[in-house]
């Protein structure tokens, strides 16, 4: 019997080792400064380290500016996490000598906290904690590393810490614009919005979309369904089915589980508005437009502050006015000119302050 116990212990250990080898706690990440890209991925967070081959060879003496991202979902989720990864890549192209490290899939806050701390220990110049849920961890970690700059989003609070920046998106603005277009396009006057949980960025977007639709058409019947989960694709899919059963002919949704709703919309030919990233590739026939986040707008300011010696203490927001939020249209969708004009007029109205989103 003892021998058996030993055998299974070995098996369990072997499995744990396999899992450990696949994953990476980022504390042990080796940074590939002069190779193109090294990726390790596993059952828990995945860590990607990418250096810049050209700059490290041409400017070998200059220390690169090191940026690390810790984010809850996959870096190519066509949603929240991808928005920050794309932005940091833009910054990297602009600045040249930038080293980027990514730990994604840290949906467990403790995993994110250990990654954030490890990056600070490693001497990263800017640690981006991309998730409202990481605030508590940052509040504990940031005071231990006064020389490291942290950025936390989406959030509006720096905890009074001098080395924490906060950033958020006025997602209600793009939501409002697309809501107005949605109401103009709807023939049944019924619009469906699927959300995860009624907080933060998702709530802002949903409220903005609803307000825009109702402003355009006071008789619009805007159905809102918070499924209660950021990750339950099946529930998002059934929420879309429920909208269809109620006669909706336009839909939108926010968070990474909406891919399930988009495929349903595509099946029954209901048009779709995307947010957080350009979702056209999911359903090229039905996506009208997407609100895309360009966090690089705030990252530029944050990095300028850091280089000027201010490692935090300020809040930033992307919106339509500063170009951090852009409505990207799907060229393959035959959007009537008057509706597109309505979208452009609404954008202009929000920027000049004549239109309020109500949020």
């Amino acid at each position: 019997m003892k021998k058996n116990r030993l055998t299974w212990l070995i098996v369990v250990l072997a499995l744990v080792l396999v899992a450990a080898a696949c994953s990476d706690d980022s504390g042990t990440t080796t940074t590939a400064g002069d190779s193109d890209t090294t990726t390790t991925a596993g059952d828990t967070p995945t860590t990607t380290t990418a250096g810049d081959a050209e700059t490290t060879t041409t400017a070998a003496s200059a220390e690169p500016f090191k940026i690390a991202i810790v984010a809850p979902s996959a870096q190519n989720d066509l949603a929240f996490t991808q928005s920050i990864v794309d932005a940091v890549n833009v910054i990297k192209d602009e600045m040249g000598n930038v080293e980027v490290q990514i730990t994604d899939n840290t949906f467990i806050v403790e995993d994110a906290a250990s990654a954030i701390r490890a990056y600070a220990v490693d001497g990263v110049d800017l640690v981006i904690a991309h998730g409202s849920q990481y605030g508590g961890s940052l509040q504990e970690i940031a005071p231990d590393f006064p020389d490291t700059a942290f950025a936390w989003g989406t959030a509006a609070d720096t905890f009074g810490l001098s080395n924490v920046f906060a950033y958020e998106a006025a997602s209600d603005e793009g939501g409002y614009v697309m809501g107005a277009m949605a109401a103009a396009l709807s023939e049944s006057n019924t619009i469906g919005i699927v959300g995860p949980v009624e907080v933060g960025d998702a709530k802002l977007y949903v409220d903005g979309f609803k307000a825009g639709a109702e402003a355009q058409n006071p008789d619009a019947n805007v159905l809102v369904n918070y499924t209660g989960s950021f990750s339950d694709v099946a529930l998002a899919s059934e929420a879309a089915q429920a909208f269809a059963a109620n006669g909706a002919d336009v839909m939108t949704g926010t968070a990474q589980m909406v891919v399930g709703a988009v495929t349903v919309a595509s099946d029954v030919n209901i048009i779709w508005f995307g947010t957080q990233a350009n979702q056209t590739s999911l359903a090229p026939d039905i996506v009208v437009a997407s609100q895309v986040y360009h966090w690089e707008v705030v990252l530029r300011d944050i990095i300028a502050k850091i280089e000027a010696g201010t490692p935090g203490g300020e809040q930033f927001k992307i919106d339509l006015a500063n170009g951090g939020e852009v409505i990207e249209y799907n060229d393959a969708f035959a959007l009537p000119a008057d509706v597109k004009q309505l979208g452009e007029d609404t954008i202009a109205g929000i920027i000049d302050g004549s239109i309020k989103t109500g949020s």
Partner: protein, 310 residues
Amino acid sequence: MSDFFTTAILVATAASGVRLAVPLLFASLGETFGQRSGVLNLGVDGIMLLGAFGGYYAVLQTGSVWLGLLIGIVVGMLLGLVSALISVTLRAEQGISGIGIYLFGLGMSDLLFQKLVGTPLPITKFPKLNFPVLSDIPVIGELLFQHSVVVYLAFLAVPVSMYIINKTTFGMNIRAVGENPEAADSLGVSVNRIRYATVIIGGTLAGVAGAALAIDLGIFQQNLTNAQGFIAIALVYFGAWRPVGVMLGSLLYGFVNAIVLQLKTLAIIPPDLSDFAAMAPAIITILALVVVARRFKAPAALTKPYSRGE
């Protein structure tokens, strides 16, 4: 509330409940086989995830939903074999080794997805069956005769499982091994062989459940199952280790979810309460479990590894 009680909405809600029940039904029927023979496999969700990715990827590459389903079957069989090796031959603690399989499936499916696919791409879904005449009957047609083909396969698996467990020699051996492996062994029944067979059946159906989920949604994403494999294990207890009970449990879970979604859509449940409402299916299942678990007895040898003469 009157918005909810219209024929169209009620039928749509019921159809939604049936769709939500399907992956749970496949997975919990499979787990029923294992548990009836005395093996608890907590790795169902991990097998579902790998089956889901395998099925998704096959469809993405070839466009054939049937090849996708086949890949789900093969992936499930292989992981069932691994599970059996760990819990039957190596006699591992079943409550722990299954977690290992789950974590492996969760991580590996995501790793493969990130490496081979990256950004989610939609795939062809299962075709919806269209029965002549029957599908056109109002209400009944939409409720019963307009689903995708996997829905019928799932419900067909219920009587087949019942027949195997209750009417065949193999089924009798499964039950004997699950209740009293020593006695079964003394009568010449190979406990290990039976358990291997049931755990592989369980793995196969979990793989099918995953593939059915991914291909019916037409998409894959990290952690696509969202812990449905664990719900399926709970439903085996809920269903008192009987295929019909397991089916009723899956349907209950699917219907409660569908009703909550529809009530939220119609704002009958206000957004402020939607987080609480989202818990309803889990709470109802747990309550039902408490009631059922007091009435029925689990297979006596459940979770106990068997070794001859010890």
